[in-house]
């Protein structure tokens, strides 16, 4: 290994505590901690929703509480749980994977995290300040205008999301510059691990999408606080403008949440199949295609608005196009496993689970891109089922795969495989039991966001099954938390490279030292650690 001295001297952050840290690994852990905490909160809100819906005409919660719970559940899971979890893993792993001592702007990195967290706290403060927002996570105008949402909930939504978004944008700048300029010698952009590729593409998506949300939030704030008329039909404004701006952010946001998880399983599957990824270039290139297309599909969330048949047809077609690069990836993962020596660890189980569940969510997504089908099931539980197959069945299973894979690197200890299997199978069963029946509920006409339904609708039994599934999911999460805490204290010692892995993060100690590497590594291929372990069978590129 070529010995190149460190070009950056990092301040001794490990001694000054979590509040002041600027180390990318500690900030990564902070992000992940934030994501886990908000995931638990969002999960409790979901359980409240499912408990209320378990039986027809239930009165466990009143409609106002129900509206607040589904609104905050959505915002929490998307912006305060999933995004911080993904950004957290990216923060921790990207510099290690590209052989860098830290991110490009360590202090800015800390600012990103604290802004993201404060945004979340501002949103939750609304509960103490007279009521949380109750207008849905996409907060359609004119419902979100002062005339129809007179409380302060929507104002906290605006401030919370704007501050959280500023943190996310700054974080994306930081990660993009890190990936573009801080790769170690030999680490060409065509050699970086696919998780790094996905992080780069995601950063571009964040930089293109989040500012549109910020702009929309500013306009809504002007409407609510200065008496403006942007989205106020009575004053000449157009409520549909909010939808355009929001979904111009909102659809790329879906890929912001799913691409890094795809990157995680693109690391896990090759390592546990003992093969390089099949079609590296296609996995990376298809992500660029997805990112490009994702800015041209937003109005498929608005088929029912009445934009016109031509507009709907165009957006339906672009939405279906996205299935092509997405399908390419699925074949890449499967082809990687074919002929490999599979090791079905918990991480691998979750990665395979991702593929299966994400395909279901992807297919129901294609069905929703067909305008007449969308018009029939829009705003119904079919949509709820679809988005949860993508974001839980996809993203969350991917995050769990990443968690089991990288936990030993971050802590020096392995997560328990025995509890991990319980965690996986309970999650898999609970998830499908919760969300599969919702396809039928939606097709039968059950609208989303209703706090109850009449017994005569016949929706009771499927809803009851769905709630049972949610309870099983809750048990699965308890198993996961037990696994986390027990393994942190007394898990099996991992060593530097417990999985016999391929990429640079496994070449340093577990957990890595503050400066990451004793000397900056130099690489000659896509699997630098494999090359080092098998000099006789180096990768050609």
């Amino acid at each position: 290994m070529t010995a190149i001295p460190l070009w950056v001297r990092r301040p001794a952050a490990e001694r000054v505590g979590w509040l002041r840290t600027v180390d990318h690994k500690e900030i990564g852990v902070l992000y992940i901690g934030m994501g886990v905490a908000f995931f638990a909160l969002g999960g409790l809100e979901a359980l409240l929703l499912r408990a209320q819906l378990a039986t027809p005409e239930a009165t466990l919660v009143d409609p106002e509480t129900f509206n607040q719970a589904f609104t905050v559940h959505g915002v929490t899971m998307i912006l305060l749980a999933v995004v911080p979890l993904l950004v957290g893993f990216a923060n921790y792993m990207v510099p290690l994977m590209i052989g860098a001592p830290d991110v490009a702007f360590p202090r800015l990195n800390a600012l990103s995290f604290w802004l993201s967290l404060v945004g979340g706290i501002v949103l939750y403060f609304s509960f103490l300040a007279g009521g949380a927002p109750d207008t849905g996570w996409f907060s359609y105008a004119p419902l979100s205008e002062r005339a129809f949402a007179p409380g302060t909930g929507v104002d906290y939504y605006i401030l919370g999301l704007a501050v959280n978004g500023a943190g996310t944008i700054i974080g994306a700048i930081n990660l993009a510059v890190t990936i573009l300029l801080m790769r170690c010698p030999g680490m060409a952009i065509s050699r970086v691990p696919l998780f790094v590729w996905m992080t780069l593409v995601t950063s571009v998506l964040i930089l293109g999408a989040y500012p549109a949300l910020t702009a929309a939030l500013v306009m809504l704030l002007v409407d609510r606080q200065l008496g403006g008329h942007f989205f106020d039909p009575a004053g000449g404004g157009q409520a549909v403008l909010w939808q355009h701006l929001f979904w111009f952010f909102g659809h790329p946001e879906v890929y912001i949440m799913v691409l890094p998880a795809m990157g995680m399983i693109s690391e896990v599957i090759p390592v546990f199949s003992r093969k390089p990824i099949f079609g590296y270039g296609f996995v990376a290139g298809s992500s660029v295609a997805i990112a490009f297309l994702s800015f041209g599909v937003w109005a498929h969330h608005m088929f029912a608005v009445g934009l016109g048949d031509t507009e709907n047809a165009i957006f339906g077609a672009t939405s279906m196009l996205i299935a092509i690069p997405t399908g390419v990836k699925v074949f890449n993962w499967i082809a990687t496993m074919v002929g490999g020596r599979l090791r079905m660890t918990t991480a691998m189980l979750f990665a395979v689970g991702f593929i299966a569940m994400f395909v279901i969510g992807g297919l129901s997504g294609v069905s929703l891109a067909v305008v007449p089908i969308d018009l029939a099931v829009t705003d119904s539980y079919y949509v709820v089922a679809h988005l949860h197959y993508v974001l839980f069945g996809g993203t969350m299973l991917g995050i769990f795969a990443g968690a089991y894979y990288w936990f030993p690197k971050m802590t020096g200890r392995l997560l328990s495989e025995r509890l991990g299997r319980w965690h996986f199978w309970l999650t898999f069963a609970g998830f499908n039991l919760t969300f599969l029946p919702q396809h039928w509920l939606g097709a039968a006409g059950m609208p989303r966001r209703v706090f109850t339904y009449a017994a005569s609708t016949g929706w009771g039994p499927l809803n009851f099954i769905s709630t049972i599934g949610a309870a099983i999911l809750a048990v699965a999460m308890v198993v996961f938390f037990v696994n986390l805490f027990r393994s942190l204290r007394s898990g099996e010692i991992a060593g530097d490279d417990p999985w016999d892995a391929f990429t640079l993060e496994w070449s340093t100690t577990s957990p890595p030292p503050p400066e990451n590497f004793a000397s900056i590594p130099a690489v000659t291929g896509r699997r630098p650690l494999w090359d080092r372990k098998h000099p006789e069978a180096r990768d050609k590129r």
């Binding site: 700048i173 930081n174 993009a176 300029l181 500012p211 500013v218 403006g228 008329h229 942007f230």
Partner: protein, 187 residues
Amino acid sequence: MSRAVSLERSPRIVEDRVLLGVVIFIASESVFFLAIVLAYVAYRDAGLATAKANLDVGRTAIFSIALFASSGTMAVAGRTRSRAWLAATMILGAIFLAGQGSEYARLLSEGIGPGSALFGTTFFTLTGLHGVHVLAGLVALAALFTAHLGRARAVGAVAWDAVSFYWHFVDAVWVVVFSVVYLGTLL
């Protein structure tokens, strides 16, 4: 022009972290302004009569020239590391803000505000957000000026470039805003 100090050469954008970061930040800011400008354009017809009756294009053009000129003084300041040119840039920027402030005062006294009608909502949001960015630019210029006091070599080329990129961006946004909002009333 005489050069008293030997100047550190600017690094290339694609090689320097700070410059690349600033460029990416500006790209993301452009999306933000694009959304606000599009909202203004979407509502242009509804507010056109009010805009024609109440906007003083000639007067604002003069203040706009001050802002456009400040990009030129910034370029000279950056090339020569001159505090005088930097001060000129700040003064021109402040003149522009003063002009905007006096126009706001006049419109508000005539009963046109962000809540009065669609024109007021879109006008004050778009020009106000731009004004906030000019103010942020002035703060950055002031920081550069202070850091530069008496120790010309201490401020790196990157800091000069980063601040001037941002200042040129704020100026460029005004080219669009002035065209859409003010020159648009002449059509």
